[in-house]
């Protein structure tokens, strides 16, 4: 399973009824709440061995699967 698939699997665990391939406004449309974000960050930090900090919890970083994935890749490169 590649990294993107792993991410989608994590998101599906949090919100099983959401089609993440189509959602591009996860934060503004209220699909992901702050508790969901915390859970997502915990799962991402565990799975990808990166460190997401409050600096990164901007709506822009969590709007869609693609923006979340871009954040993970950027942090993985920095580490």
């Amino acid at each position: 399973m590649d990294n993107m698939d792993k991410l989608i699997e994590i998101l599906k665990k949090i919100k099983p009824n959401v089609d993440f391939s189509k959602e591009i406004n996860l934060i503004e449309s209220g699909v992901l709440t702050s508790f969901d974000i915390i859970r997502l960050i915990v799962e991402i930090n565990n799975e990808y061995d990166v460190e997401i900090t409050p600096l990164h919890t901007t709506p822009e970083n969590f709007q869609s699967v693609d923006t979340i994935y871009n954040l993970i890749e950027k942090l993985a490169d920095e580490d």
């Binding site: 709440t33 915390i38 919890t57």
Partner: protein, 523 residues
């Protein structure tokens, strides 16, 4: 803000708007700044010094942080990855000291001016446990206008500079961001990156901004003066003389307070947003049909949205994602269910959020209990969620069916109203007494007692209905303002004049009315 004050404010905004339009584009931000300070000095007089202190400290803090960033960028050149990381940590520590210094300084101002008497009374109570009686000094100072609002907005700005979310502004830009007059009474809280560019744009006359802004201001005025101040008659009577009432009257008093608060707070926010619209500025949204919420967390995502966002950005995430929490999470990883990895940091962060929220709402033990009330509801909700999801899965019941949605909306409304009881009751014991009185049955006739006239009762009922209808339309994404703006200019003008006449004819002011103090004012 009573009717006369609102009228004076609208007149002031009109004068500012007129002068603003006459000036060249580059001068317009300075016009807003000058009039914001004039407004502030007239309202808060010598207490303006505290506004100036906040502006100066966050501006200098931003300068300090930017200088450190520039130094780091210069020194990191040519370094290896590990050396860069170590240097970054060193500069992060220095920036944090600037940030902490500015935050402590500004919170200290707020603590002394708003909470001094509360802390001293707590200290007196503490000493009395040891039979020591002490008479602490009492501070008798009026609060600077909007100190609880502008302090948090200013601190948010500095934290954003430290995070690299914005590079910070010049002194006049920061000053205008903090002091912009429409947001001083009751917010909303502002984000520098969203508000400052708009303040500096110097947008000229725009027909839709003008008509839309005036429409919003007048609708806000109607909500405050026709609906909220009228509901305050019944609410004030029930809460001041609660020992005389029980059962249905107490319930009515609490529910009407909820609508009074909503009408007043959202009304004053509408006035602030409408004023800003005139200048082509869009302030942050603060309400989104809160009574359609299906849970208490959802309610707080729809009510006082800008405060919720501020606490989420600057308290909830920093605590729940702090280094300590992440270390704990790594230790728990693979050993405990993910539920605990989310629950523990969230529970600790939420405690800080709700204590902060409670204390922000007022200087008293009652407000701490108010915050903790919502804290325990949210924690309880987090614990129940996995069980209820399992129940839905096992039974095959669709949790989004209409009946269950209505049940959740009703339950949330009831829980919120108990919170409102805590907030509005004169004291904590009074809140508990009123709660108990709900179940003792009986009712008394407020009209018969001469508390309120039939005409006012009818207006209250119509007012509450109007609030509900408007929210239903908004929830269905029907844009009332867009509908208004699509009309011909003469029709729009007639509607606006009609709204002014409506306030004059039906406003709860004049003989027989006592203007209530604004609930979220003096914060």
């Amino acid at each position: 803000m009573n009717t006369i004050l609102i009228a004076a404010y609208i007149l002031f905004a009109t004068v500012v708007y007129g002068i603003y339009l006459l000036l060249p584009k580059k001068a317009r931000p300075f016009c807003l700044l000058a009039f914001s300070f004039l407004f502030y000095i007239v309202y808060s007089k010598f207490m303006t010094i505290f506004l100036v202190l906040t502006i100066v400290t966050v501006y200098l803090g931003g300068i300090g942080i930017n200088k450190l960033n520039a130094k780091f960028d210069k020194q990191k050149e040519g370094l290896e990855k590990d050396e860069r990381k170590a240097l970054k940590k060193k500069f992060a520590r220095k920036k944090r000291w600037i940030l902490i210094g500015a935050i402590v300084f500004n919170f200290a101002i707020l603590a002394v001016l708003k909470y001094f008497n509360f802390f001293t009374s707590l200290f007196e109570g503490f000493l009395s446990w040891f039979n020591v009686s002490a008479s602490m000094p009492v501070l008798k100072l009026a609060l600077p206008l909007g100190i609880s609002y502008y302090t948090l907005s200013a601190i948010g700005y500095l934290i954003d500079v430290n995070r690299g979310k914005c590079t910070g502004g010049g002194f006049w830009q920061v000053a205008l961001f903090v002091s912009f007059f429409p947001q001083l009474f009751e917010g909303p809280f502002a984000s520098y990156t969203e508000l400052s560019p708009q303040l500096q744009a110097g947008t000229g006359f725009d027909k839709d901004n003008f008509f839309g802004g005036v429409f919003k201001m007048l609708w806000g005025w109607i909500k405050k003066v026709v609906i909220a101040d009228r509901l305050a008659i019944i609410v004030g009577e029930v809460f001041s003389n609660y020992t005389q009432y029980n059962g249905l009257i107490i319930v009515i008093g609490i529910v009407l307070f909820t609508f009074q608060l909503y009408a007043e707070f959202s009304g004053l926010i509408d006035i602030a947003q409408g004023t800003s619209n005139l200048f082509g500025i869009k302030l942050a949204k603060n309400f989104e049909q809160p009574f359609f919420s299906q849970s208490v967390p959802e309610f707080w995502r729809r009510w006082h949205i800008s405060l919720g966002n501020w606490m989420k950005e600057y308290i909830f995430y920093p605590i729940s994602m702090s280094k300590g929490m992440m270390k704990l999470n790594k230790k728990m990883s693979g050993k405990v269910n993910t539920f605990w990895q989310v629950f523990i940091p969230s529970a600790i962060a939420l405690l800080a959020v709700w204590l902060f929220c409670g204390i922000w709402h007022g200087a008293g033990v009652k407000y701490i209990v108010y915050g903790l009330y919502y804290y325990f509801i949210m924690i309880g909700g987090m614990c129940i969620a996995p069980l209820s999801n399992l129940l839905y899965k096992k039974t095959g019941i669709n949790k989004d069916n209409k009946f269950l949605k209505i049940c959740r909306i009703a339950l949330t409304f009831i829980l919120v109203n108990f919170g409102m009881l805590l907030f509005r009751a004169n004291t904590l014991p009074a809140a508990f007494d009123m709660f108990g009185a709900i179940f003792t049955g009986g009712q008394l006739d407020l009209i018969g007692l001469g508390v309120i006239e039939v005409a006012d009762v009818v207006m209250c009922a119509l007012g509450v209905c109007a609030l509900i209808v408007v929210d239903i339309l908004k929830e269905k994404k029907i844009d009332i303002k867009a509908g208004f703006l699509s009309q011909k200019n003469y029709l729009k003008t007639i509607i606006l004049v009609g709204m002014i006449a409506f306030v004059i004819i039906f406003g709860a002011f004049g003989d027989g009315y006592i203007p209530p103090d604004p609930i979220y004012g003096n914060f």
